[in-house]
């Protein structure tokens, strides 16, 4: 799949790099000193690069584990995230990565061992009875490149003997083989993101279909793995109730609710600067062209739509699943809240701290 691969000379000797390169014998391999020489340049076009992204194999030197942003948790006491990869195989029009990075090339930090050490060191700071969560899939899809990178396999092993260390693998992929070959672990949650089929087909380019993702979830559950559902971002359309009702029915009537660890809900939102970048990249895209509102540095749907979608989806989901498994992603707080929305907002805020 990759035609151009850049490799930092420092990692050329890594066994993991040799294994990855062996999969792409036809690719042009170029060595470089630091991945930033390619990835961080100013005059790049994310949209053009998305046509044929290059793979960049690099070493991360610091900052392996990051504090998770507010609202990213699913019930743990402490939340962190880590990214062994920057950018994603898929091309979802709402994705913040398009606004965050100048390049669409895929950077993989191959020194997993350094991440692993930092992860365990971070977890060791906390009491054994505290749940410490590590989220993978913030800057990439955790499983989409698993057959090539074996990243999930490595980090499952890292946390396998820790009772209070939890790992979330967030994905839209169906690449679950590295999990299926293992005995299920209670502290691993594979969390699948969903939008309704019609929306997914329109704006989640190259993403496996809803039914294929559901089939992957069912296989994991059959083997005893916990799964998560992520309805984040919720995408508005005039008939969003029908579309999400169909999606919820499909998922909740198929999945075993006992093996659903958590569900999170969050309406589409982007930092304003990221959205401006998307407007520049995709002025011809009907999703980006919607007249979103801007408040507190974030671009999202008008507040009444945001609140309506959240509350409606929450009510629907809680008919299928216990309330304590449902979590809200960060709520945008407007400068002035319409009076009719205040009570609903208060309710959502309470739910957010659950």
């Amino acid at each position: 799949m990759y035609r151009n691969i850049y490799v930092e000379s420092e990692v050329l000797r890594y066994h993991r790099v040799k294994e990855i390169l062996a999969r792409y014998t036809d690719a042009s391999v170029v060595t470089c000193d630091r991945y930033t020489e390619i990835f961080n340049l100013k005059s790049q076009d994310f949209r053009l690069q998305k046509k044929q992204p290059a793979l960049i194999l690099a070493r991360k030197h610091r900052g392996y584990i990051q504090q998770a942003p507010a609202g990213y948790g699913v019930g743990g006491d402490h939340n962190f995230y880590f990214s062994t990869m920057m950018n994603c195989l898929y091309d979802c029009r709402y994705c913040f990565l398009q606004g965050m990075y100048r390049s669409a090339n895929h950077v993989v930090f191959v020194n997993y061992e350094d991440f692993s050490s930092a992860l365990l060191k971070t977890a060791a700071r906390f009491e054994k009875d505290e749940q410490v969560w590590f989220f993978s899939g913030y800057d990439c899809d955790s499983l989409a490149l698993e057959p090539v990178l074996s990243m999930a396999d490595f980090f499952i092993e890292t946390v396998s003997s820790s009772q209070n260390v939890w790992l979330e693998l967030r994905t839209k992929s169906t690449q679950i083989r590295s999990l299926l070959k293992r005995t299920p672990l209670p502290n691993i949650v594979t969390a699948f993101s969903f939008t309704p089929t019609a929306i997914s087909e329109q704006i989640e380019h190259q993403v496996p279909g809803v039914e294929k993702r559901l089939a992957a979830m069912l296989r994991l559950q059959e083997q005893g793995w916990s799964v998560g559902l992520r309805f984040d971002p919720l995408i508005y359309s005039h008939n969003f109730r029908e579309q999400y009702q169909d999606l919820f029915n499909l998922l909740f009537l198929s999945l075993n609710p006992d093996l659903i660890h958590s569900i999170s809900i969050g309406v589409f939102r982007l930092p304003k600067d990221f959205y401006k970048q998307l407007e520049r990249l995709y002025p011809d895209d009907s999703f980006i062209a919607q007249p979103f509102n801007s408040r507190n540095g974030q671009v999202s749907y008008p507040l009444n739509i945001e609140l309506e979608m959240k509350s409606w989806c929450y009510k629907q989901i809680q008919e299928h699943i216990e309330k304590n498994k449902i979590f809200f992603a960060e709520i945008s707080v407007p400068d002035s809240i319409p009076a009719t929305s205040i009570s609903l907002k208060s309710e959502l805020d309470v739910r957010n701290v659950n």
């Binding site: 035609r3 151009n4 850049y6 042009s28 170029v30 470089c32 000193d33 020489e37 390619i38 340049l41 005059s43 790049q44 076009d45 949209r47 053009l48 690069q49 046509k51 044929q52 290059a54 090339n105 407007e279 990249l281 995709y282 002025p283 011809d284 895209d285 009907s286 062209a289 919607q290 007249p291």
Partner: protein, 271 residues
């Protein structure tokens, strides 16, 4: 928006086969170098060396103002490994003097080999590394990436000399033959770049409607950006905007016209 693929060529012997093949006509431009063009390709005869190549990029940029430009440096090169006659696109350009390195980005499938190109100040005769050697690429590339996004800037070289074939034997007619032998590779590379520039140009196009607004009302620079953004949205969302309608007739300035456009988009979307 117009778009062009700009060829920067050092030697007349390299340029002539390209001028003939693409049927380029000399442009009567007030520049210090010769520029030739047709409706899709511009060629600048730069002269030898990094500075000359960088200067040529600037001259063509001045000529093609408001255009989406792709840039291709074409010429002959020595090589420590490749056979004479081999064409290649640079995937790494190193300036031997400064050791500064650039990595051209391929978002199209190259029709030829790719490899490292070292830009030297004096003709290379040792061929100490298995790389290409030229005298323009680093100057060209550093100038061109300031004018376009990097995916649209490339360097194509044809090997004229190597450890087994001395540079001293490279003649004008040999250069002519080398370029002619690779015209189809050059054509394919230009076509790939043309597709990309066309895509970017379409993305950045402004339409007739914008001009109607700009003729009728005065807008500040910020308002013009907002107006362009809103008109783009009306186009994508298929909303009809008629500047002759009653709503716009009552607008006394750009600000109020902008408000009407904004309101129209929001109303359409919510309904």
């Amino acid at each position: 928006m117009n778009h062009s693929v700009n060829l920067i060529v050092a030697l007349k012997a390299e340029a002539q086969p390209l001028i003939e093949f693409f049927e380029l006509k000399a442009l009567p431009v007030d520049e210090t170098i010769s520029i030739f063009a047709n409706h899709e390709v511009t060629l600048a005869l730069a002269g030898m060396g990094k500075s000359a190549a960088a200067h040529a990029v600037q001259c063509v940029k001045n000529t093609n103002q408001g255009c989406v430009n792709a840039w291709l440096n074409i010429g002959i090169a020595g090589h420590g490994e490749f056979d004479v006659g081999q064409g290649f696109l640079a995937n790494r350009i190193v300036d031997q003097t400064t050791m500064k390195t650039w990595y051209p980005q391929f978002v199209f499938q190259p029709v030829c080999r790719t490899g490292t190109l070292m830009t030297v100040d004096k003709v290379e005769t040792d061929y100490s590394d298995p790389v290409g050697y030229d005298m323009e690429a680093s100057g060209f590339y550093s100038a061109a990436v300031n004018c376009s996004t990097i995916e649209l800037v490339h360097t194509y070289k044809i090997v004229s000399d190597n450890p087994r074939n001395s540079v001293a034997k490279v003649t004008r007619s040999k250069i002519d033959n080398l370029i002619k032998s690779k015209l189809s590779e050059i054509r394919c590379t230009i076509d790939s770049l043309k597709k990309l520039t066309a895509e970017v140009a379409t993305r950045n196009s402004s339409d007739e409607l914008l001009h109607q607004f700009l003729q009728r009302w005065r807008f500040s620079v910020t308002q013009q950006i907002q107006l362009k953004s809103f008109l783009c949205k009306t186009n994508v969302l298929k909303i009809d905007i008629d500047v002759e309608s009653n709503e716009f007739m009552s607008c006394r300035n750009g600000k109020s016209a902008l408000k009407v456009v904004e309101r129209t988009v929001e109303t359409h979307w919510r309904n």
